[in-house]
């Protein structure tokens, strides 16, 4: 389509909105209500422009010509048009510079501002506010409104995490539309009408995992992130574009820090991964970084007491102890959200010490690299049949949103030179959802089941039997008649079918194999959901033990004499404490005091995930850059730093002693230049496992408690006060029958030994929990799956508060 914008001729695709045509031509139109990934509604009327098009004569079918020029005559629309809701037409002429357009823009700014409080000096959005910018660029600077402005509540807490200033709201409806269109949880709406309209919600808080995004998309300071309220002004923050290490999605993040402290986290833009959305766990779960009890200096145990030391002293101390040991007597374990560079360092250190045992944890029993036909998140968003096994809303929440994209059936927009289209006219308010394409299986009722055409709650631990049956074309036990046949037909008949499976399947090699067999049978792509940010990368680059019996933490029980762990807490498991105490050297590299630091010989201060530089591989195999935000972590170092210090103490120059040296090694194995990685990342092909045995022969399907994934990192929950206030303490979800059986009631705080770890939780009685299998959030040291809990030892710590 040929379109002329202010004299600039453009060739555009059919269906493009006029606003994108204007931007594509290099001109600007102001807008408030449009948002890149949501439906255009034309409510703010800011983007008005003069639009005209030639007409064809009805009778002859020829263009009506201008008598003077002989060219097709342009018929202008009688009114100015909202460009965000107008589609381009052949030969269209758009004018955004004429006087009447400027006048309309002036008056819309004036109208928008008459009820806006103009308290920019105290507004957290000040300096990064769309209204501020637009008022400056397109307003007259004067107001003729002389009456009292509308007075409404200034700080309505929508939830513990989001504060709403109703006076500042300009009714663009982005937040209301967001909830309906993106996560599908309609928890926010306009109340009243006309000049009295305000945003409101009924009941407590906002029950959704994706509430924080509305603070990003609010064009004014009406919706604010409570964790960062009044913490600083926008121009004072150091913005770091990085990648989320909170889950395996690899979502783009912007970490805003000021004077060495993380003040807030906003979502970044990565069109193929998270678009511009992140979940609440990622957004609000950063406060622990600045916790007062963070370990900021190395500590060495002298005379039974941990005493502060320099890095050099600590490294010397470790080196001396290590000298007397054989390589195979030293174990090294990293948490699975360590970067690739840290992994390289750990491998090099292990190699240096001899036949070192190196591993990352949590690592599922089944490999994440199995199954050649892998789905990317874009594949998922364009799938026309999806089978979900597990609970992606909690495991990798972005997967949940991409599934909901697929339900809408609108493909990802093509990018313009100015980026994502501002108004994608294919998106509509209240689009019908193709729920029939989604099937959800889980051992308990999950949130995603609400959006699924068919769903089934199976018995926990039955994954292997279910998929063995499906693989051989049989009906699994306990399923409704015809369920399997229908599922198989749907997946096999689809153009693009994707099977998403989570930790419950990965916990068993058998289940995983059976599922992959079923996927091959129906020709579906697969997407496993790893437990942590770099699980895929660490497996891909071979941060793995050389033999299955060296797997962490089982290796602790063998001939091991020294153990170096990074961000893990092996001593939480009471069954291991005895053995750990017998070690000649226990080094723990961590952020906070825990059971392991109590018995460790050396405690090294660790950097948080926001302070590290490096790269990770997300669940779809995309290598993404992680950049450090300027956070004051004292003397803390990442594992690369540990390797460097130990190398110095040992007198060795090890691979992975710095980012550069690690990247030299990675360049060889991945054939990628990690220094010049684009922000959007690069998809890497999955190769066969680099080396070693990753398969753990753990038996699945036993146990009486199901550890379930959670978007919240429960290990840090107590240090994230806002998140804690919003979501409460770690819940132990019980079926009412089980609650009766154990004699506990809703709201009781209990302690319970779960697989050797004493877990503290608050009882939540819900009919959604399966009978006989209570649900408890998993931890990095206790990944998802069935475990044995000792319910005889369940103790009530605090009784439920009486309901007033």
């Amino acid at each position: 389509m040929k379109v002329t914008v202010n004299g600039v001729e453009l060739e555009l695709k059919e269906g493009t909105s006029v606003i994108d045509a204007v931007f594509a031509a290099g001109y600007d139109v102001p807008y408030f209500c449009s948002q890149e990934y949501m439906s255009p509604i034309g409510a703010c009327r800011m983007c008005l422009a003069k639009v005209g098009a030639p007409r064809k004569d009805r009778a002859s079918g020829e263009w009506i010509l201008d008598e003077e020029t002989g060219k097709p005559k342009i018929f202008y629309f009688p009114n100015l048009m909202a460009t965000c809701t107008t589609t381009v037409m052949e030969g269209m002429v758009v004018d955004t510079l004429s006087e009447d357009v400027v006048e309309a823009q002036n008056s819309m700014v004036e109208f928008t501002l008459i009820n806006h409080p103009l308290d920019c000096p105290v507004c957290d959005k000040g300096g990064a506010c769309e209204l501020q910018d637009r008022a400056y660029e397109y307003g007259t600077g004067l107001s003729r409104f002389e009456f009292d402005k509308r007075h409404q509540e200034k700080h309505a807490a929508l939830s513990e995490l989001i504060t709403l200033d109703r006076e500042r709201c300009i009714h663009c409806k982005r937040c209301v539309r967001y909830f309906e269109e993106v996560p599908g949880d309609e928890v926010l709406d306009f109340i009243n009408r006309g000049g009295h309209t305000f945003i409101g919600t009924e009941g407590e808080g906002l029950p959704s995992n994706f509430t924080g995004n509305i603070t990003d998309i609010c064009p004014v300071g009406a919706l604010l992130d409570t964790t960062s309220r009044f913490r600083g002004r926008n121009w004072e923050y150091d913005h770091t574009n990085t990648t989320s290490m909170d889950d395996a999605s690899g979502s783009a993040l912007v970490v805003d820090a000021r004077t060495g402290r993380i003040e807030r986290i906003k979502s970044g833009l990565n069109p193929e991964v998270n678009k511009t959305w992140i979940d609440d766990g990622t957004r609000f779960g950063h406060e622990y970084v600045d916790a007062a009890d963070r370990i900021r200096t190395p500590l060495v145990r002298r005379d039974g007491k941990l005493t502060p030391a320099t890095w050099q002293e600590a490294a010397q101390f470790i080196a001396e102890r290590l000298r007397g040991l054989a390589g195979k007597e030293v174990g090294i374990a990293l948490r699975a959200d360590s970067t690739l560079e840290e992994g390289v360092g750990a491998k090099a250190l292990a190699a240096q010490l001899g036949d070192g045992k190196v591993d990352h944890y949590p690592r599922p029993a089944a490999s994440l690299l199995d199954g050649a036909n892998r789905a990317t998140l874009e594949d998922l968003a364009h799938a026309d049949a999806i089978l979900v096994v597990g609970d992606p809303t909690e495991e990798v929440p972005i997967v949940d949103l991409r599934i909901k994209d697929a339900l809408k059936g609108v493909s990802s927009p093509e990018l313009f030179p100015h980026g994502v289209p501002i108004a994608d006219l294919r998106l509509k308010e209240r689009m019908p959802r193709r729920t029939e394409i989604l099937t959800v299986l889980a051992p308990y009722r999950t949130d995603l089941m609400k959006y699924a055409g068919s769903s089934h709650v199976y018995e926990a631990g039955a994954e292997e039997t279910i998929f063995s049956a499906l693989q051989s074309g049989n009906e699994p036990q306990g399923f409704e008649e015809g369920f399997a046949a229908q599922l198989q037909q749907r997946l096999a008949g689809a153009k693009k079918a994707v099977i998403v499976y989570g930790g419950n399947v990965l916990a068993s090699q058998g289940a995983s194999n059976a599922l992959l067999g079923f996927a091959r049978r129906v020709g579906a792509r697969t997407m496993p959901l790893p437990a942590m940010a770099n699980s895929v990368g660490l497996e891909l680059t071979g941060v793995l033990p050389s033999h299955v019996r060296y797997s962490y933490p089982e290796a602790v029980g063998t001939e091991l004499r020294a153990l170096i762990v990074s961000n893990l807490n092996p001593a939480a498991d009471s069954r291991l404490v005895q053995r750990l105490q017998e070690l000649e050297l226990l080094v723990v590299h961590t952020m906070f005091e825990d059971e392991t630091t109590h018995i460790a010989d050396v405690v090294l201060p660790a950097k948080s995930v926001y302070e590290r530089d490096g790269t990770i591989v997300n669940l779809e195999g995309r290598i993404l850059p992680v950049r450090s935000a300027p956070v004051d972590g004292g003397l803390s170092e990442d594992f690369t730093g540990v390797v460097k210090r130990l190398g110095e103490a040992l007198g060795q120059r090890m691979e992975g002693r710095s980012i550069r040296s690690a990247r030299r090694a990675l360049k060889k194995s991945l054939e990628l230049d990690l220094d010049n990685l684009p922000d959007e990342g690069v998809l890497v092909p999955f190769k066969a496992r680099a080396r070693g045995v990753s398969v753990r022969q753990a038996a699945a399907g036993e146990g009486n408690l199901l550890l379930v994934p959670s978007m919240i990192r429960h290990e840090y929950l107590s240090r994230n006060p806002h998140l804690l206030a919003a979501h409460g303490e770690t819940p132990l979800r019980l079926h009412p029958d089980d609650a009766d059986r154990f004699g506990v009631s809703h709201g009781d705080v209990v302690t319970l030994p779960v697989g050797g770890v004493i877990r503290r939780a608050v009882v939540r009685v819900t009919p959604g929990a399966p009978v006989g299998v209570p649900l408890l959030a998993s931890l990095p040291d206790q990944p998802a799956g069935l475990v044995q809990a000792n319910f005889a030892e369940l103790r009530k710590e605090r009784l439920a508060l009486e309901v007033a």
């Binding site: 309609e186 709406d189 306009f190 109340i191 009243n192 409101g200 919600t201 009924e202 009941g203």
Partner: protein, 187 residues
Amino acid sequence: MVELDTLQPFFADKQELLDEILGRYPEYGRRSALMPLLWEVQRAERHINDARVEEIAEIVGVHPTEVRGVMSFYSTYHDHPVGRFHLQVCSTLSCSLAGSDELYDHLVEELGIVNGETDGDGYFSLQKVECVGSCTTAPVLQVNDTYYERLSKSRCRQLIASLREGELPEPWHARGGDADAKGGEEQ
């Protein structure tokens, strides 16, 4: 009393009515039943409280916020109880030209309450409303669901007197023009 009532779900013993209302709409349009359900509650309880909002949300399968959003959009749903007789004076142009301002002043004087108020014993509520569609028979006073049209001073006094007695009188015939059966023929 009212507090106790709210504990019992409104539609718990009205399954037939519920089925009838839901049955009016196609299966994919379940949400359409939202407004009729609100009407049912309002007719019975003269307002719709938070518990009812939640109950209706549950029935039509949406979040209570959505119900609140819809309910607050329309001007005839009340979240606070109105009196037994809800007097609504139309104050838009045609009625205003027929003396609705004076009518309103008269009611204020007579009842001792002003726009938006309910009297102490919950008997009368007075409200100025916008056009109720009785322009040719102005001024009009709507009492609950009944229109009292061409409300002259004497008729108004009679009406208030019988409302005080607890009686909602039959509205009188008031049309004019062709709406008057014979009117058209006579012209």
